[in-house]
Symmetry: C2
Subunit: 69 residues, 2 copies
């Protein structure tokens, strides 16, 4: 999963939950800049940042055999 798709996924989920970038950033304990860049598909986020955001969004990161649904 590329950073562009992850950014889009996070943005979509955030909008579903009706929370703002500043709010999500605070809840997850990451900087607003980091979140902003990630949603834009920029940069190369760390596992820690992805996990923190996923947690707040009720999501999870998975590493699995390709093709598995």
């Amino acid at each position: 999963m590329l950073v562009e798709q992850i950014g889009e996924t996070i943005r979509n989920r955030r909008k579903e939950l009706k929370i703002t970038q500043p709010h999500l950033a605070e809840l997850a304990g990451v900087s607003i800049n980091t979140l902003y860049k990630l949603e834009r598909g920029q940069g190369n986020p760390s596992l820690d940042v992805l996990n923190k955001l996923a947690e707040v969004l009720g999501m999870e990161l998975k590493l699995q055999i390709k093709g598995k649904l």
Copy 2:
């Protein structure tokens, strides 16, 4: 998914495919040190590193709603 689980998953998959750390590191284009630490559950790997390794291992990273199988 925590770095410990990811490390274990990668190590298990690598053994299934019967390739060594040096070989996987080279195929994926990451340093042997990075792979070694990751498999040990140390550090905080970047999305890029995880994607490169997943690709070689025939795996993929997914971000999805919690609980989805």
